[in-house]
């Protein structure tokens, strides 16, 4: 691919954005019609307990209550990807808030009365809400895992002994990162519409084809069919995969033969939602005196929560991905994923790398200090470069990592020059730097393939429909696909309709995760456009138009003569050079890789420990920028989620496993008043493999943030932060014990 286009500036086509700003977007809950049966669940108040008996009679006696489902209704069905371990309704509650019984009622008041009337007896079991407790708990959470360890990973690369001998300086540390909720603004909402034997699942998930695949198999057992309809999605950040609520609604809809819906209140969404995996990371990095990074060792424990979801994949990624940033000689990583009685974890923007970056990028900083080398210079000397094959098997195509480092160095120096250090007894200022890398898609995710399909179909009304299983979650996918096709076919954007994620019509797609949508979907859109143009020139000749007639003319004529059905094409993209990774994660898992370097300036109040990020710079190699505003949006948004992870957000669980802060007020998601000025810098990289030279930008911005802030705090105060979130109290305490 070498189809060089001039960079696209400003909004390409902002149809979705304008609709949304007018309040016209429709999310799942907005599509629930009056009279729809409402569903709710009774949740376990215990972190670990066996359900001994369930009395549903008092609930069923309440007028308006239509049906009740218990664990027995879902025998043999478990959710999970690829390992299945999560029941729909459970016989053994493994976290506070797990669904035990579900109720359907004609209205919300009856629903609440029904749930409150249920009698559920539990036998309370010993529980463990930390990895350490789970490893010593004599009670396994899942019978198949007697020691509560779900998975162990080992990744050894290079000649460790030889490398070790060359090391003159080691730095090491133990780091603790926390679970945080995704805290998307739209709570989980599920609507199931019944159309004869067809169940239509309407829910904001960015993996509609994957959901359809999983659920079709299950509902086939009930004699039903299933399609997924994807409405607007109010944020997800990795959370909205398969979920018990879907199956509960599907089962009720099938049983009652009518539409049912369930919208989680925010509190329930947080206690029964998903979180980022908390991790404890022991790491050491060794270098030579002249600043060559030689060896890195990682020992990592990850808190899976009660069920697996993508925990194994995230854990492996956390153990190895960040290694690919530098030219190490030898690597040794061990990771264990452990079941606990916490909220089930799930992938979350960054896929484990924000956790490991917090450790690695602080240690690199410490090394720089020990070796007397500027931290940016140390990174530059060891930076991975275009053409490298890393120890983990990544074949690095385009690479703008050093360009990112140069860019932030220049910005930081200019800022320091303009703001000479002020002598102030109360406030300390400091600068920090950190870097990150990320893949695009993940060949390891689906063993069958990693590809995207996108169809262009001319509708009878003359609109050109883009249909794909690659969806829009606010990154601008609709606009991007629309823009690519419009540009390629020289069509007005107004003549194009975009339908994403309705599984009845669109071709299969893996969905929006792993920063893959723009890249994979974009390539498929290019391919589809090419094929569609070809179909147009064939038809042109047949109907007597000049072969070079514009696409618009061909379309108009096809509509006039009733030959629209001949104009359709399905484009595809499946990278050739990616490889399925082995057990230890070795392989070229992505068609391209992204890089980034961040810097920030912090102000710390040493009296209260309060940290203010005064300025933030984020330099990214995302290939060619397709839309500057969109790319900035991803970077600024990602940095702010990262700042929340770094400084404020956490899921706090008490001794009984109960979430202490279910809600935005106590989770402390950043507000307008907490916004930090972020300056975005994009490198001039062009990725041959990408659509119009692009790579991806959704996940990379969150990765370096916590480390970057931690390094700045160290620069300002001399204290090292090993634990997230770095709350004012923690910082104040470290100033008193260390400083």
């Amino acid at each position: 691919m070498s189809e060089i286009q001039p960079p696209v500036q400003g909004p390409v086509s902002a149809t979705r954005a304008t609709e949304r700003a007018r309040g016209l977007a429709r999310y799942a809950a907005d599509l629930i019609l009056p009279g729809t049966v409402l569903v709710g669940v009774a949740r376990s108040p215990h972190a670990h307990a066996r359900v001994i008996s369930i009395d549903t009679k008092p609930a069923l006696e309440i007028p308006g209550v239509l049906a009740v489902l218990t664990p027995a209704d879902f025998d043999g069905i478990e959710l999970g990807h690829p390992d299945t371990d999560e029941p729909v309704l459970t016989r053994v509650a493994r976290y506070v808030g797990e669904a035990v019984v579900a109720v359907a009622a004609s209205d919300q008041d009856s629903l609440l009365r029904g749930i409150e009337a249920l009698h559920i007896d539990y036998q309370v079991l010993p529980h463990a809400c930390s990895v350490a407790d789970a490893l010593t708990l004599d009670q396994p959470l899942h019978a198949a895992y007697p020691d509560n360890v779900v998975r162990r990973f080992n990744a050894k690369r290079g000649d460790w002994q030889a490398a070790e001998q060359r090391v003159s300086t080691w730095v090491s540390g133990t780091f603790q990162t926390q679970a945080v909720p995704h805290a998307y603004l739209e709570p989980r909402a599920t609507l199931v519409r019944v159309n004869g034997e067809l169940l239509e699942l309407v829910t904001g998930s960015h993996f509609p084809s994957v959901l359809a695949e999983t659920y079709r198999e299950i509902v086939a057992g009930w004699g039903a069919q299933l399609e997924v309809v994807t409405p607007d999605i109010g944020g997800s950040f990795g959370a909205k995969w398969e979920h018990p609520t879907h199956l509960i609604c599907l089962a009720f809809a099938h049983r009652l033969g009518c539409d049912v819906a369930m919208v989680l209140p925010r509190r329930d969404d947080m206690i029964a939602g998903r979180t980022r995996l908390a991790m404890r990371i022991q790491m050491r990095i060794g270098a030579t005196d002249d600043g060559e990074l030689v060896a890195k060792e990682t020992v990592l424990w990850a808190d899976n929560g009660a069920y697996s979801a993508h925990g194994p994949a995230v854990t492996l990624a956390a153990a190895i991905r960040m290694d690919n940033l530098y030219r190490f000689s030898a690597l040794n990583a061990k990771a264990q994923l452990v079941y606990t009685n916490n909220i089930p974890s799930e992938c979350f923007r960054g896929f484990g790398s924000p956790q490991s970056a917090f450790a690695q990028e602080q240690l690199i900083d410490e090394l720089a200090e020990r070796l007397g080398i500027d931290p940016i210079e140390l990174r530059r000397r060891n930076a991975v470069r275009a053409g490298d094959t890393t120890l983990h098997g990544w074949q690095v195509g385009s690479c703008g990592f050093t360009e990112c480092l140069d860019a932030i160095q220049q910005r930081v120096q200019a800022h320091q020059h303009e703001n000479p250090p002020s002598i102030n007894s109360r406030y300390r200022f400091g600068y920090g730097v950190a870097a990150g890398t990320h893949g695009i898609s993940n060949r390891g995710y689906d063993r069958r393939f990693d590809r995207a399909l996108l169809s262009l179909v001319l509708a009878p009304d003359g609109m050109l429909c883009i249909e794909s299983g690659e969806v829009e979650i606010g990154c601008g996918t609709v606009d991007l696909f629309g823009a690519i096709v419009a540009e390629r076919l020289k069509l007005d954007r107004e003549r194009i309709r975009v339908v994403l994620g309705d599984t009845a019509t669109v071709p299969y797609g893996l969905g929006c995760f792993a920063s893959r949508t723009a890249f994979f979907g974009g390539r498929a859109a290019l391919d589809a456009s090419r094929q569609f143009a070809r179909a147009c020139s064939h038809l042109a000749i047949e109907i007597g138009l000049p072969a070079k007639a514009s696409i618009a003319t061909v379309i108009d004529t096809a509509v006039a003569v009733g030959r629209t059905t001949e104009l359709r094409a399905t484009g595809r993209y499946e990278p050739k050079h990616v490889t399925l990774p082995d057990e230890s994660g070795y392989g070229n898992t992505s068609p391209a890789y992204t890089f980034g370097a961040h810097a920030c300036c912090v102000r710390i109040d040493i009296v209260t420990g309060l940290t203010n990020v005064v300025h933030y710079w984020a330099a990214h190699d995302t290939g060619r920028v397709l839309n500057l505003q969109r790319a900035r949006g991803q970077v600024v948004g990602g940095v702010h989620q990262g700042l929340g992870f770094a400084l404020a957000e956490t899921t706090l669980v008490d001794n009984h496993g109960r979430l202490q802060n279910p809600g935005y007020l106590d989770d402390r998601v950043a507000t307008f008043a907490d916004a930090v000025p972020v300056e975005c810098i994009f490198t001039s990289t062009f990725e041959q493999e990408g659509p119009n030279g692009a790579k991806s930008i959704a996940e990379p911005p969150i990765i370096p943030v916590a480390a970057c802030v931690a390094n700045a705090i160290h620069n300002a105060t001399g204290t090292r932060q090993r634990r997230l979130p770095m709350t004012p109290e923690r910082i104040w305490r470290s100033l008193h014990t260390e400083g």
Binding site: P45, V96, E116, H119, I120, D268, D674
Partner: protein, 307 residues
């Protein structure tokens, strides 16, 4: 192990609520006598009802016309039970008369919440971290309590609030409003809280101070300090304030006062912060806020001279 029967963890939907909307006090008292819980802005009550499933019978106080009145007569300010925080927070006159209260009212929640939430609601919620409370303490607030028989009693706020979430309100009684003593000549007051977020957060600690100077504008004639979120109720740090009287606000004086304030508070350790960190915050905030209160006097005088 013994099986245990446990209550069901219910979804936090608002349960069916029976809402009464009385238009006069008699009707309101009748509703309350029949078991309805008074509802002002609902910014606490509706959240609790959703979380806990009760109360389910509410009587809205917004229909009582006389409770919408803000009355300023001389140094006295009376704020009716249905007055939203935004109304008092926007008043320039109140800002200079009862600064500490207004500064507290201005940081509650958000623009939207302040349009709904009332001052009296904040008082009746009786949270140790209620942001208007330290200001009300240093402004010697009296809570006007009425009952169905029409009898009134006026209670010092420090006696009205007796424990976290608990007031001295007897069954059948309601709060009609709050009366506060505004600032006199040579007096200033201020409020400040510490939160992790820059907005929409609950205080980890808060402090209000009121200072009156001698005519030299340097020597403290009278002082009071109230501490929020560091005890079961807002605390009157009278001893700490007393340290300032008869002295000028030198750094050592201030530090001594702040240290004593930190010593006399009774913070708890919870998921938001530990006790000793809250003490540290009290220390930091007290110094700051005494100075801010004092500055109001000096700055205020400067503007009088200028005009």
């Amino acid at each position: 192990m013994m099986p245990t029967v446990s209550p069901v963890l219910r979804p936090s939907y608002l349960p069916p609520v029976e809402l009464h909307r009385p238009n006069d006090l008699g009707e309101l008292f009748a509703c309350v006598a029949a078991g309805a819980c008074p509802l002002a802005g609902g910014t606490d009550l509706v959240v609790w009802a959703s979380q806990r499933g009760e109360p389910r019978q509410l009587a809205w106080t917004g229909g009582i016309d006389e409770w919408h009145i803000v009355d300023i007569s001389g140094q006295q300010v009376r704020i009716g039970a249905a007055v939203p925080l935004s109304r008092i927070a926007r008043s320039g006159e109140l800002r200079s008369l009862i600064s500490a209260v207004i500064e507290g009212a201005s940081v509650v929640g958000s623009v939207q919440l302040r349009n709904q939430a009332t001052l009296v609601g904040n008082v009746c919620t009786a949270s140790p971290g209620g942001d208007t409370l330290p200001g009300l303490y240093v402004h010697d607030a009296m809570v006007d309590v009425v009952n169905a028989a029409g009898s009134r009693r006026s209670i010092k706020i420090s006696e009205f609030i007796c424990a976290p979430g608990k007031t001295n309100l007897a069954p059948g009684e309601l709060v009609a409003g709050v009366t506060v003593r505004g600032l006199g000549p040579l007096e200033g007051s201020a409020f400040c809280r510490f939160t992790q977020r820059n907005a929409l957060d609950l205080a980890l600690a808060s402090v209000a101070a009121r200072v009156r100077f001698e005519s030299d504008e340097q020597t403290v004639a009278q002082a009071s300090i109230a501490l929020g979120a560091v005890g079961p109720t807002v605390l009157d740090a009278g001893q700490a304030a007393a340290l300032l009287v008869g002295r000028t606000l030198e750094p050592t004086q201030l530090r001594e006062c702040a240290n004593l304030a930190a010593e006399c508070c009774q913070p708890i350790t919870d998921h938001r912060a530990s006790a000793d960190y809250r003490r540290q915050l009290v220390r930091a905030l007290t110094e700051e806020i005494v100075l801010a209160a004092a500055k109001q006097v000096t700055a205020g005088c400067a503007s009088v001279e200028a005009s």
